[in-house]
Symmetry: C2
């Protein structure tokens, strides 16, 4: 049972159990877990990337209630291997190209270990000064790496804070903006406040705005166009603002995106901020994914104009080698966050706070309690250094470029929108026949690409996800998992080709047989013939 | 520089840096970190519990910007030792008795390691089925351990979800309740909604309610009385509801607390739920701290009546050996959360969701992204088992009882409110002379206890915090740090006695000299004489 088992005396009285934080037991089990996870990374490319389990699989494998007695770590790790790992979608796999990356790293992991080890609850400075101070320091470091204008840094009167996710960051800034305005025009007018974004903006905005009590029908998703590469046109914003003002509504907040989730589109910050300034509205720049790239001088231009925004955020847990969760948010005027989010209960009163020489981050976020997240970011920055971090990013971009080249060279495919960062949006072109349909074969093409995506993911060899942009179903190929190397990208392309060939062959057979079917074949025969031919195509 | 250094070729071209998630590097550094943290736990009682650094200490010790080149883990750990540890308030110290505990454990740490290792982004079932399924399973396990009524369990049509903190849990339920009502009476009436709590309720409620757009002046903190042990009297609630209804306002939500932060007071759930039912309002039970104790049959009665509440939460990261953050929230009707918080962007569409056979936890919380928190809770439950967990809790309660006994036996002190769990609220009684003052010496007593608290914390030997209840400044002595043993509690009491004696001696001298001063002594002499005598008292 190991030393964690409860110790039963001869007379069956249960002794006080061993201390749950015994340092030597910590050491013994900690080393076991390090080896377990190191082995996992070593073997992760052998698992199906997308978990292939069915809903409810785990309830059948585990007991109905918690055990009464202690179980040894060995037994638990065995269950992790047998029951949990099959239900994991392996975001750390080198063959993971879905959504956006969740790029782990040794340094990020170690920083998290330290943070969990200290396990401080850093609501204010006093509760653990290092937690607050390191956060202010790394947020300034990172702000400088991004060449954020000085007013966003602590050293320039603004400041950065680590949130869990972008959704939380947006909720905090919406709340700050909301109260800033309502304190002027009166609480009763909450129903008049309007929030702006494009139809490409992440749904986190809508969710956050609704939580903050903004009327759902006052959340505008303004249309974008393919010819603007799905960026929000400033003129579109200007018209929307004018229309709302003429209705007596109060423009509040614009969320501009650098690197949308669907297609990594970029809203033109400079133009949008100019228009926003005419109405004095809060502009938040959501660079959740693409912010990481902006530490490279060659990508920095994507956030040109940020100097006129009110706040800026990016997720270090996406593509910056810092484990989930770690959203970096900078604001020019932290006082608006504090005004909206501060609480000062008696039990937290302390001299440091009253001296006004310290930051109490509980007043910059939703929750009061907060983890010491700065440690992992600090360890990432120091363990790799700016030069390596830029090179990691560049190597992912180069691999995406390689993949884009494969797509571009193959006339059966197309790159649907221009690649900005390390994600390629592509699709299989519909068979020529269908392109003459009224919608140019769009419906057929979308259905085919959905089938292609499902077929690729069902192999377990890679995992990719989709989006629909301007009505077009696209396959998103996002490079960025830390373990991905060029050979994985090459294999992924081979799989795309192989699955596409099988699918196209199947479609051809289907079309041919359809004609025959119309000439009298039974459905059973069509199906059998299709399967036979499809099998040949795969093995060809 | 270790193998993480960037590798410079002879011609000064920088090669692609080593992979940031290299399994063997992970193993090497992971083992180092395990030993680092094990050593920290071994030595943690040697550090001042409350960090003694001054505001701004760290900025002077660290560079102004991130390093350009990689730094070896050895150098970083050295900086953790030299620069970070002095700025840590050691929540894991056995001499930590402040706020509420943040009780770490080997199992909780290991669970977090696994979660960070997989680093999945579990927004929906599909993105990592094990993350969602394990969460539903452990929430049912834990619900059964608490004897929560079946309607709160997945197996009974309700369900539990892991939030970061109570503040988030309250925000989600307030938002759910708000939208349920506004969908009936119209969005325009958001300004009419009223939220109820007692004057002892945690400020998380006020914060969450304000974020959700509830008018600040519609958030009621109803008065409590010492004779009700600071629990909210149902009749007080009834009157408040009637008054608001007669004003045309709409009662929305009651937050009842089991184990308040100031004094672990308990609101009477059964009576409050009866009154709340008359107005069909949402009742949330916040048992952030005391919920843990309710896994012991002898404490379960504190949540009797929960069957008539709408939601219930407790923080496993406080006193349940699960590292921050981990708030367990159960609701009877998850659909209200989903109605208020769901988002269904195209890029997350998938068959499992559409089959309606799975839970997508993104719709039960603020953020979309979520960590695999269930692992740590599962590991805690399995590694210790229900029997040991109850015994851990009981051993803390027993230690608090021991301390309470010390206080009760010493006539210079009093236990201010009855102890319910593992926290003792006590104070040093004011010197007899001051008790004849108009406020019964309250002001003097409060000032003395504040001085006593500061003096104790300045020694670095223990850390305790305060609250003010019914106007009385109390010292809160919360047992629950995992490493605390009886000897630490005995030492803590000795320190209380020692510091109190010094303070009382000083006060006596002060009073005596005050008289003399009035008889003509210079201020300088008073001060010098005081210091001399105080020194003697300490060394006596």
């Amino acid at each position: 049972m190991g030393s964690l088992g409860d110790i039963t005396l001869e007379n069956n009285n249960v002794m006080c159990p061993p201390n749950p934080l015994d340092p030597e037991e910590f050491r013994r089990q900690g080393h076991m877990m390090v080896d377990f996870i190191a082995d996992y990374y070593h073997d992760v490319d052998k698992y199906p990337v997308l978990s292939q389990v069915s809903p409810g699989y785990l309830r059948d494998l585990l007991p109905d209630s918690a055990p009464n007695h202690a179980e040894p770590i060995e037994a638990i790790l065995q269950d992790v291997r047998n029951h949990i790992v099959p239900g994991i979608t392996h975001w750390q796999s080198p063959n993971y190209f879905a959504y956006f990356p969740s790029s782990g790293s040794v340094a990020g992991f170690l920083g998290e270990m330290l943070s969990v080890g200290f396990n401080v609850v850093g609501f204010n400075w006093m509760s653990s000064p290092a937690a607050t101070e390191l956060e202010t320091i790394v947020m300034d470091w990172l702000g400088k790496m991004l060449s954020l204008p000085k007013p966003f840094l602590f050293s320039g009167g603004g400041g950065g804070v680590l949130q869990g996710t972008t959704c939380e960051g947006i909720l905090c800034t919406v709340t700050a903006a909301r109260d800033k305005v309502l304190n002027k025009i009166g609480r009763d007018r909450i129903g008049d406040l309007v929030i702006y974004s494009s139809d490409q903006t992440h749904c986190a905005l809508k969710k956050a705005a609704q939580i903050a009590g903004i009327r759902p029908d006052n959340i505008r998703a303004l249309p974008t166009r393919q010819r603007d590469a799905f960026g929000l046109c400033p003129e579109t914003l200007r018209s929307a603002l004018a229309a709302d003002v003429s209705e007596g509504l109060v423009p509040l907040y614009l969320c501009a995106t650098v690197g949308t989730t669907s297609s990594t589109a970029v809203d033109p910050l400079r133009g949008l901020c100019e228009v926003a300034a005419e109405h004095d509205i809060w502009v938040h720049v959501d660079a959740a994914y693409a912010g990481s790239a902006c530490i490279c001088p060659e990508f920095r231009h994507f956030i040109d104009g940020v100097e006129n925004a009110s706040s800026f955020s990016f997720n270090a847990h996406k593509w910056f080698f810092t484990t989930l969760d770690c959203c970096c948010l900078w604001v020019k005027e932290p006082q608006h966050l504090v005004n909206a989010l501060s609480t000062n209960p008696e039990y937290l009163r302390n001299k440091a706070t009253e001296s006004k020489k310290v930051v109490d981050f509980k007043d910059w976020q939703i929750a009061l309690s907060r983890r010491f997240r700065a440690l992992k970011l600090w360890m990432v920055l120091r363990s790799y250094g700016v030069a390596n971090l830029r090179n990691f990013i560049r190597s992912h971009v180069n691999m995406a470029e390689l993949f884009e080249g494969f797509v571009a060279k193959d006339e059966r495919f197309e790159v649907v929108v221009p690649r900005n960062f390390a994600m390629v949006c592509f699709r299989l072109l519909p068979p020529l026949g269908s392109r003459s349909a009224r919608d140019g074969g769009l419906e057929t093409a979308n259905a085919i690409n959905k089938r292609l995506l499902d077929a690729m993911n069902a192999t377990g060899k890679i995992y990719v996800t989709h989006a629909v942009v301007g009505g077009v179903y696209i396959i998103r190929f996002a490079v960025g998992a830390s373990l991905t190397e060029e050979r994985h990208v090459r294999s992924a392309w081979s799989l795309v080709e192989e699955q596409a060939e099988a699918l196209l062959a199947e479609l051809e057979v289907q079309a041919a047989l359809q004609e025959k079917a119309e000439a009298g074949l039974t459905e059973f025969n069509v199906h059998a013939a299709m399967q036979e031919q499809a099998g040949q195509a795969v093995h060809a």
